[in-house]
Point group: D2
Chain length 317, copies 4
């Protein structure tokens, strides 16, 4: 593994295991701050290296601004500087993203994560302008979020290298699933001698191989459920214990089947996946209520039982 | 043409020519309320039947919440009840859309326009739940916005008919471009005897034929530039003067070429189209500044001149 | 309606109602030539103006080359010059399309219809080279087939105008569903004074409005089932009897519901649509066997009965 | 690495390094059989474990049937049983794929590779019926080809497991780029104790990590240019020499930049990639002519020189 690059600003550069933190809700759909604090404690106790709040796994797309603010305030205060906290600033275009970013920076997050524009029909020149404008307007490091499944465009590798070299971006969270592309980016960054740029993968099922390719960190949604597993996996891989890493990754891969609990007949994959993470956290006693935000379809009793059985099989329950 | 259906609530049901109102900005990217009032006057003077604010043509995806509020307050106050005002509540999911919707209703709009969820991976059952939840939470009529190019899903006709029959939806703004589907919907609504449901097409180039199919209104972005032309066109078509309607539509079709002023090499189609509408409004003296919100790429002088020449050719300048 | 343009070669230019002819199969999946001849007779007797064989409705994508040859030979011989016969040359790229085209021309078709390359990742310059190469290699007129749902790219209007002006293409079969784009093309062709270029729409539900826009012909799949209806519709529209045209179109629109007979749960839309056309032709006694080619899923008895009831409702049975 | 599974039929199961063989053409666009034999020799001399002809890298989508037959005959005869030869049977639907498959089996290939239906709108039930029908009709093992970029659907993992367990499929060539999905499939196959099913990855840039995940073989297009490099890489990885594997993979990753030689401005990615492979083989003296089939755009002199420089940098020239 390549060591996480030093941030020229002196801030701790997020790297290692950086779970995207679920957002526990009350039955009345308010942020359940007590459960959120317990979840943060659950993650920190497992030894994670950073936290990513207000990403897809956090249901950021479902949270009103006041909810987002509560999440950030709760987590930043509870973490109290023990690890870096990255905050998603997920919105359609530049001015809206800048507003979210500034609010997050004021609350004290250590970095912002922003996608390309979405909903609008866009263009590579507009994506680059967007990231430059956001970076210029925000007082903390900016990470690009490559999430084609939501954004419907893929970040161009040449642009990332350019913005990395200029220091506009501090890194990328790559949830594109394009491992060949990510590896090319990693190699080019290394050959260019670019420092201060972290590549974090959003892939949960290929952490060992991603570390072998040189990523600086992983952002596994399933890390909410089994953070200790991901910490072990990451350490095995970082220290080149490949057999142990593979065994741990395969155990987590089996556990990952919880995301299929709801199927695709009566709900979308997002409802099933986020519902299963929250069902698992509820079954583990970490959060008080497994509800997800509307219009997601909730898991029923049989589907929740499927989650329970997989937790048992994984040795977590 | 089928007459615009009566709204059971007694509110005026939007129909006829309902332009989606551009949002003039100052060079500093604030809402230019004086220009916005002039634009509203320009539209009302031409005899439009309603206004749609905070839609795609309004750059809603680019406007922070405070801008959106200013737009709504300015337009609702300036219109002063002369025509119905619909407001887009464009955001990713239910709770966020409800917030925008309530804010718009408080300001005094006559109806809300909302898309299916986007950014998240969704499912027909989630789309239906979303529209039902929004309708239940909002005190004014709800119109579904069918905009696959932005939302990446198409509203299901069966669902629209169901929500129309139940009175959940007051109409649909169809910008899907699927004229066969729209016509099927219109026929099924008529056969079911459903009233209180308006079908508004977003297509600018097929107003005469859409009226022939029975739509209740049209929402042409180009109507910002030549509202009188669209009013004439709509009246010709509504009164079955098909030859006059066709001639007017073809004149507007030639004018519509302004949306290609910026091309697709150095900017996206959105930048070119919205930039051309604003350039035209600026050249016509309606608004003070043609700037579009970031990260859109502005038209350059040559591109703006292309707009100017098409305005001259259309007899507008 | 603009009259169908004269073909400089003196060949009859296809225009008017040009149904895409279904391909009846035997239970053993051979071409049922007797049924095919009856189907051709059924169409000619209704007064259609041309035939399009080996298009999507013909299950061309499902037919081996020998089947394609049998279809062409059977139809060309049976038509015996009464109306023009266009033949689809549907394959992935240039050399393969040229082979199909030459075979069809030798058999005696009056024109070839070819899509952009598919399966391969392509580019506008490659699409243009493809159409130019095919046109240069084939001794009969070439029509471009715009079918994004199958080909996953849209033909560029500028390219079509260029190839029309140069005489490379004799027309376009537009199944893109983009009526605004088609109308723009029609207007630009007229303004450029281009002759010898036919625009044929594949849309079944908007024939009257397409004629009002100036198309030269329509290629309705449903025309297999009710060719007389489409001939009446087209004549009403061509002679500006808009009310009669609308009524006929709406009757056909109701009949078109047969394409939903199979639903989307247990089969694809193609299986349902093509299966319903063949079920209808079988119920009407035109063809001997309603089987579709594998891997399409056949309609079951209940689904076939749904087709039957719609035929009854349309006055056809 | 998991050993390549035994084929119950006793045939050698393809595994290890199985390059997809380019199809050299003459300037007149015939198959250049002498160059093809040299290319096969170039690959066999490097120690590859099998060959895949008539895949995407072979320009199969561009080759008429007679060309396909010539390729197969030439390669099968030249290989003379030294290694297994898989043949792509790439066409739109079942009957056409069966024809290609039978022809290939008669010529003597050891297995057939077929995609889901394309061009038609399809459905999971139709994809499964398609693969079952093809397998039943063909006397050699069938491999499914998962290539969403061309086929526009992704093969369902549950279906693959079902067809593997029943012995319908002998394997899958996974070019979907979804490494998490591929790893899940590998784990499920292992846990189910399924034998006789090979997972071959089409990814060129992640061979070491794919081997670590347990794939049975790799099908690297770049293996045409540097087969010895891929043989070394595969052996390093199979014998757990991960550092040596990574170094070799990274060298090949740098070489892979040849696929960008043509850029995306004036040609598609396919033209650039296939053009660069052929340019490299020409520069290396393996094939006589670098021409690609129409409508691909050829590389110009400057682009070819970019290929040359990368070959020099990789130590191949």
């Amino acid at each position: 593994m390549t060591a996480a690059p030093a941030d020229p600003s002196g801030r701790p550069a997020p790297g290692g295991v950086v779970p995207p933190v679920c957002t526990p809700l009350t039955p009345g759909l308010e942020v359940d701050t007590a459960s959120l604090e317990r979840l943060v404690g659950h993650l920190l106790d497992a030894g994670v290296d950073g936290l990513f709040v207000l990403g897809s796994t956090s249901e950021v797309a479902f949270l009103p601004d006041a909810h987002r603010r509560t999440v950030l305030e709760t987590v930043v205060k509870h973490v109290a500087g023990q690890v870096p906290v990255l905050a998603g600033a997920i919105d359609m275009t530049t001015l809206r993203v800048i507003e979210h970013s500034r609010a997050a920076a004021e609350i004290g997050c250590d970095g912002i994560v922003a996608t390309a524009p979405f909903y609008t029909r866009t263009h590579p020149a507009e994506i680059e302008r967007h990231l430059r404008d956001v970076a210029a307007a925000v007082p903390v490091p900016l990470y690009a979020y490559d999430l084609p499944v939501s954004v419907h465009s893929k970040l161009d590798a040449g642009m990332l290298l350019r913005l990395a070299a200029e220091g506009v971006l501090a890194g990328v969270k790559d949830s594109s699933g394009d491992d060949g592309g990510m590896r090319t980016l990693l190699l080019r960054l290394r050959e260019a001698g670019t420092t201060g740029f972290s590549v974090l993968t959003g892939a949960e099922l290929t952490v060992d191989t991603a570390v072998a390719m040189g990523v600086h960190g992983v952002v596994p949604g399933l890390g909410n459920v089994d953070p200790a597993g991901y910490v072990r996996l990451y350490r095995h891989a970082s220290e080149a214990r490949w057999d142990e890493a593979r065994a741990e990754q395969e155990r987590l891969l089996r556990l990952f089947d919880i995301v299929n609990a709801g199927g695709t007949d009566r709900m979308g994959r997002g409802s099933s996946a986020l519902g299963s993470f929250k069902a698992a956290l509820h079954l583990l006693g970490v959060i008080d209520c497994p509800v997800t935000a509307p219009p997601q379809i909730p898991l029923d009793a049989a589907e929740t039982d499927r989650v329970r059985r997989l937790l048992v099989a994984a040795g977590l329950l």
